[in-house]
Symmetry: C2
Subunit: 315 residues, 2 copies
C-alpha cells in the first residue's frame, strides 16, 4: 500500500486519478478505475448533459466508490454539466482548458471537491487563491491539450507556489513515474494515455494498438498557432495540420474546420491515419493492454519496490 | 549520504554531475564541483585545445578528485580536444550534439570513461551497442541544445532500452529532482542551469541574476527550423530569432549568422537582452546564488529527507 493525503481527501485507496478524456473516458473506464481503488473520471468533453447524466448513473450502478466528472470549459454545455454535477452530487469535478472561475463557488458550496487542471505557476497561484480543493498540474509531455512547461520542472515550482494538494500529470505510466511525482512534492498522479491501454477502455482497438506500438518520439504538438497546442501521435492528419500551420495562407477558421471531429474519428471509428490520436510522450513506455485492476496493482507494487530501492541508497 | 552505482563507477562522493556548458563551465566551476564531491566538467565548446589544456591543468591544481571534459561534436577542434584528453588522461569525457562514433574507441582504450549525451531512445540504443560507460539522457526542458522528449517520460524509456548506467538531465535543481530522477531509474543527475547560479561560476552576474528572476515560463526554444533547437530565456534576441524563423524569407545562413557569438555576449559581457541566455525550464525554481558546496550538500540533505517521506507513505 501507498497512501498519501489525496487518499484521505478523496476517500480513495490509491493516489491514482484517471484523466477525464473526451470521447475516451466513459462510465466503463471510470467505474473500473474507481472500483479498483483509484479515482475514475468521466470525460464530458463537448457532450450534452443527457449523455453525461447517463454515464454518471452507469458508474453508480457498478461501484459505490468516489468518482469524478471532467468538464472542459470550452464545452458549449459546460454550465449545464456543472448544474448536473451539483444536482447529482458528483463527488469530484476536474476542469480543463482554462480557469473555472464562476463555476468554482457553486460546485464547492455543493460539497463537490474541485480540482482544476493547470499548466503554469501563474494560473495555479490564481486558482489556489480563489479556493480549490487541489490542482492537477500537467506537463508539456501529456497527450491532448498541453502547456509548455514539462512535468519535472513544473511540479516542484507549483508545489512551492501554492498551499493546496498537487496531482502530477504528464509522462507517467508506471510505478517509477508515480514515485518520481511523489518525490517532486505531488500527492498523487493523473494518467490519461496509460488508462487508454486497458481492457475496460471502450476506445477503438486501433487507437490502443497505435499507442502500444509508439516509440518515445512518436508524438507531435500542433495547434500552437491557434493558441491551443494539442499533442497527438504523428500520422497523416497531424502532419497535414503541421503543414497547414506553417503556411501563413491558412486561416484560423480553416485550421479549426480541419481539426473538428478528428478525435471522434480516431477514438470511435478507429481511423488512426486521418483521425487525431491524442497521446502523451509516455506512449513509448506502454507495451500492453491490461485490465485496470492489474495496471493499478502493478503500479503500486512497482512503486513500493522503487521506494525500497531508494531507501537502500541512503547510508 | 546517498550513494548509487555512479559514485563507485566514477570515484565520486555524490551522484551529481555538472553540465559542461560552453562559455560557462571553466576550471573554476569544475574544480569547485569536483572538490565538493560531485563530478565537475569543463565545457570545451568551440575553444581551441590550448585553452582546454590550461583549464585541465587549473582543475588539477585545485583538486585531485575526478573531473571531466565535455566535447561538443560540432566543435572545429573536437578531434584535437579528444587527443588532448587522451594525452592528459582526463578521467571522464562527456560528449554532446550528436554521436561520438569514431572517438569512442580511442577514448575508452585510453581508460577514459565516456558518457555521451542523448535525447532519444534510438541514439541511446545505438551508443549502448557501440560501447559506452554510461549515458547522459537529457529532456526537452533542459537549457541550451535540446531534444523533443521531456525528462519524465524519456528516462524510464531509455533505462528499459539499454543496459548501461543512465544519468538524468533536464528540469533538475534540488533534492526533489534528484530523488525523482533516481526513482525513474537513473543512477544520478546532471545539472546545468542550477550550477550557473553558484558563487564559483565565472559567468557574468547579469546572466545569473536573470535566471534567479525567471519564472516557469521564462524560456523559449528557437532554432528548430535549423534542426538545432536551443532553449534560452525569452529576451529581445530570442524573440527576434523566433520571428526570423517564422518568416520563410530568411535563409539558414542568415539565421546562423544572427545566432553566432550571442552566447558569449550574454555569458561574458552580461548583455542579457541581445545575448543568448541559455537556461532550462527549472530556472523558475532557482532563487539564490550559493557556493557549490552549499548547493550540493543542501541537495543531498533534501534528497534524504524526501526519501524518508516516501518511505513513510508505504504501509
Amino acid at each position: 500500500m501507498i497512501r498519501t493525503a489525496l487518499c484521505a481527501l478523496l476517500g480513495i485507496q490509491y493516489p491514482i486519478v484517471q484523466g477525464g478524456m473526451a470521447w475516451v473516458a466513459d462510465a466503463d473506464l471510470a467505474a473500473a478505475v474507481s472500483a479498483s481503488g483509484g479515482l475514475g473520471v468521466i470525460g464530458s468533453g463537448n457532450a450534452p448533459p443527457d449523455w453525461v447524466a447517463g454515464q454518471i448513473d452507469a458508474v453508480r450502478e457498478r461501484t459505490d466508490r468516489p468518482f469524478g466528472v471532467n468538464i472542459p470549459l470550452f464545452s458549449p454545455f459546460a454550465e449545464q454539466v456543472v448544474d448536473l454535477c451539483i444536482e447529482k452530487q458528483v463527488p469530484v469535478v476536474t476542469t480543463g482548458a482554462g480557469s473555472p472561475g464562476p463555476f468554482l463557488d457553486p460546485l464547492r458550496r455543493a460539497g463537490i471537491k474541485v480540482f482544476p487542471l493547470v499548466a503554469s505557476v501563474a494560473l495555479a497561484r490564481r486558482l489556489a487563491r480563489q479556493g480549490v480543493d487541489g490542482l492537477i498540474v500537467e506537463g508539456h509531455e501529456s497527450g491532448g491539450h498541453v502547456g509548455d512547461v514539462a512535468t519535472m520542472p513544473l511540479i516542484p515550482q507549483v508545489v512551492d507556489a501554492v498551499d493546496v494538494p498537487v496531482i502530477a500529470a504528464g509522462g507517467i505510466a508506471d510505478g517509477r513515474g508515480l514515485v518520481a511525482a511523489l518525490a517532486l512534492g505531488a500527492v498523487g498522479v493523473q494518467m490519461g494515455t496509460r488508462f487508454i491501454c486497458t481492457s475496460e477502455c471502450t476506445v477503438h482497438i486501433n487507437y490502443k494498438d497505435r499507442i502500444v506500438k509508439a516509440g518515445d518520439r512518436a508524438t507531435i504538438v500542433t495547434g500552437t498557432s491557434l493558441g491551443h497546442p494539442v499533442r497527438t501521435i504523428k500520422n497523416r492528419m497531424s502532419r497535414e495540420m503541421a503543414r497547414m500551420e506553417q503556411t501563413a495562407r491558412i486561416s484560423e477558421e480553416e485550421l479549426i474546420a480541419f481539426g473538428t471531429g478528428k478525435l471522434r474519428l480516431a477514438a470511435e471509428e478507429g481511423d488512426i491515419e486521418h483521425g487525431s490520436v491524442m497521446s502523451g510522450q509516455i506512449s513509448g513506455l506502454i507495451d500492453d493492454i491490461v485490465p485496470v485492476k492489474v495496471l493499478i496493482e502493478r503500479m503500486i507494487t512497482e512503486a513500493q519496490e522503487q521506494i525500497s530501492v531508494l531507501s537502500r541508497l541512503c547510508l
